[in-house]
């Protein structure tokens, strides 16, 4: 009975008990902005994915960095396409931390990104793409709008 009660309590809770992370590091909550099945359902359920690893040497994610997400009990890779943190002049700062899910080859899981993405990503992702590695520029093709 107690277990049942606690379960109901947890499910009905409309807020997070962990503080907001000021930068993208492990355990930061993110927002999936593509129309992939898993991403959409995770956002609808109010269970945004958490970053569990940042693929750079600092451990803090910046625009265009690849991260590993824990999303609906699965591990997925994603690219950061919009950040809340202050940016240098001319680079937009967004109201949420946006990610687009990709697979190991760099192909996005969805077919559309429904928010604008910064122009500078075109350069950043091209720089990160290696000839024989993953091709991250595929993500740019599904963007609906640049800003």
């Amino acid at each position: 009975m107690a277990l049942c009660g606690s379960k109901i309590n947890v499910m009905s809770r409309g807020f997070h008990t962990t503080p907001v992370a000021q930068e993208i590091r492990k355990m930061a909550r993110l927002r999936v902005v593509d129309n992939s099945e898993i991403g959409k359902s995770a956002m609808l359920e109010g269970k945004p994915p958490r970053c569990i690893h940042v693929y750079n040497k600092r451990g803090v994610g910046f625009l265009g960095d690849k991260v590993l997400l824990a999303i609906k009990g699965e591990k997925k890779k994603a690219i950061l396409v919009g950040l809340k943190q202050n940016q240098s002049p001319r680079i937009p700062k967004f109201d949420s931390n946006n990610v687009v899910l990709i697979n190991d080859e760099g192909t996005p899981l969805g077919t559309r990104i429904h928010v604008p993405i910064p122009h500078i990503l075109r350069t950043l992702l091209q720089e990160k793409t290696q000839t024989k590695g993953a091709d991250y520029t595929k993500l740019l093709a599904i963007a609906s709008r640049y800003v």
Binding site: G82, P89, R90, P92, K93, D95, V115, P116, H119
Partner: protein, 305 residues
Amino acid sequence: MASVGRILSHDIRQNIQNFKSLFGKDCRWLSSQAIETQAKSSKENADDKRKVDDRENTAPLEFRFKYPEFLPDPNAAYRNSTRERLERMDMMARRAHIDIPTFYVGSILAVTLSDSHAVGKTNRFVGICIERKGCGLRASFRLRNAIDKQGMEVVYNMYDPTIQKVECLRLEKRLDDKLLYLRDCPIEYSTFPFDMEPELIDETAPVRINTLKVPLKPPPWLERWERQDLKGVQEFEVNEKRRRKAEKHKTPWEEFDLMKIYRQTIPMEDQKDIFAEVYSDLHKLEITRRKMARKRKFNRPDKPT
């Protein structure tokens, strides 16, 4: 903070005015204030503008609100008169190339700039100016807009050489010096269409003040808005603890702190010297801008069908 400090807020000025009326008008120890500010009618201001032919080189008083970036940082540690003069020269050189219109916090701007990352190598952003910062060549402004219900902000340096064009689509002021609270407002209050047409305005009329009061979303907020005296926000409730703390952190004596005002402002005499240096050039640019605007209007007659 510096930009707010450089130009006195209306309240403070009012206080000083009252203060001065007690001690008579001719008190030199309050020399950082403009006694005539409020007494001067708009007609007299117009006369001032005409005086440029007489080579009097007296910039109208509203220049400190129109061109706040020409005033240096009031902090003496950051002052260097030679650097400031050189920067002013550079700023005028840049202004000779692109037309930076007059705008205030709350105006809607469109910025076109060359962007090596963009497809067509140019990028245009439209948004409401929510903050103006910095002085001299480091002056910058922050535009905010929401596209596809995604709020975003971009900071532009005013004298950035990559900027191709700055348009003021709607010239107006809001009730506050900074509109950072728009981040915690419903998204429709920071949504502006990209295909907005520039509004035609009467340049002689005083700048319109938009008295819109925006509602705040429920907490959590990005800042403690209850501690800031916001005029452009609707009444909102905070919990008992936050209200008590806000009460505790109030500093009602600061508006009477003359030394604080003195430290945060550029004295009137210095302002006069600075604007005298750039006034004739700025005035010439203003005239050419007006001429160009008239030309553009004239060049678009409706074709009889």
